[in-house]
């Protein structure tokens, strides 16, 4: 069975929002090489989002292009998970957010790549290839910083503790993800937090944190100020 528009928007919006967050690092990363690396990951995610949005627009059948879906929808129409809209914080928090996102996103892409929705499978296979590299890079940093200096360890653990409640809606019903992350966290000498008392969710239904409003107002301002402009 083919993926619904809602499912495609979830795939696309996760990547659009996370890609935008990474673009905020451009010119601000701790070192030039990492500035380029984060921008590259962000650009990959933006490319994936564009393709998923194109497919969503086609299946929706209302003639909306990827640009229209990206730049002219309101926050409540976005289907991204709450994790990806959380602000960058320090470098540790950005890395932790990537690792937690990829832990769920990569197996999902691999599942879709083997699935029966041929159009989506092709897009997912390409995205999985890119995401495998992203995971290699950010997991590397996760272990380095966790098992690094006293300060980097403290910041990485704080990032993990802060972001963990936002993984609930991503990891729901997927116990194997926690097991896999336990192994990685052990390597990084970090502790995975317990299950949160109040797991955050709602992103998939369009109930977002305030951060998404601010992000979208910046991301969409040019397109909204100049409707129909081509660039």
């Amino acid at each position: 069975m083919n993926a619904s528009v809602e499912e495609l928007l979830a795939l696309a919006d996760d990547r659009l929002v996370l890609g935008h967050r990474l673009s905020e690092w451009c010119g601000h990363a701790p070192i030039l090489e990492e500035d380029i690396a984060l921008s590259n990951v962000g650009l990959d995610l933006l490319g994936q989002a564009t393709r998923f949005l194109e497919l969503a627009g086609e299946r929706e059948g209302r003639g909306r292009s990827a640009d229209q879906l990206a730049f002219l929808r309101d926050p409540t129409e976005f289907r991204n998970c709450l994790l990806v809209e959380q602000p960058n914080g320090d470098f540790a928090r950005t890395i932790a957010r990537q690792v937690l996102f990829d832990a769920a996103a990569l197996p999902e892409l691999e599942r879709l790549a083997r699935g029966g929705d041929a159009e989506l499978a092709a897009l997912a296979a390409q995205a999985a290839k890119e995401s495998r590299y992203h995971a290699r890079h950010t997991r590397d940093w996760f272990v380095r910083l966790g098992d690094g200096s006293e300060e980097s360890h403290r910041r990485m653990q704080a990032a993990l503790d802060f972001l963990w409640p936002f993984t609930a809606e991503l990891y729901a019903g997927r116990g194997e993800l926690r097991a896999e992350l336990e192994t990685l966290a052990a390597q990084a000498t970090l502790e995975l937090p317990g299950d949160p008392d109040f797991p955050a969710s709602g992103g998939r239904r369009g109930t977002h944190s305030e951060h998404l409003d601010h992000l979208l107002s910046e991301m969409q301002c040019v397109a909204r100020a100049h409707p129909g402009a081509q660039w």
Partner: protein, 100 residues
């Protein structure tokens, strides 16, 4: 923090564009170790065109001639032209695929 400890070591990057071709020097990146040097090299030098293989080597590990040595080391006598294999036309297949 001084400028000395804010920079990671320099690594030279060599890029192979096609199997069988030589790895050619593309530039350099800063990285704390080989794995991150490879990743930085990939992001900086392998994104724009086809690349099949990357090498990185820490710049400090490269032994190089000193400019002062050039005369005795690299110019063994331009008058002895018989030392220079300039009189053959090299068949195309023997070249590395690049124009000299």
């Amino acid at each position: 923090m001084t400028s000395e400890d804010s920079q990671w070591p320099l690594w030279e990057v060599f890029v192979q564009e096609k199997t069988g071709q030589p790895h050619e020097h593309a530039g350099s990146v800063h990285a704390p170790d080989a794995e991150l040097a490879l990743q930085a090299a990939r992001d900086v030098y392998a994104r724009r065109g086809p690349v099949v293989s990357l090498w990185v080597v820490e710049s400090a590990r490269i032994a190089a001639t000193a400019p002062a040595d050039a005369a005795s080391f690299l110019e063994p006598g331009p008058e002895k032209i018989y030392r220079h294999p300039r009189f053959y036309s090299v068949p195309k297949a023997g070249k590395s695929g690049k124009k000299p």
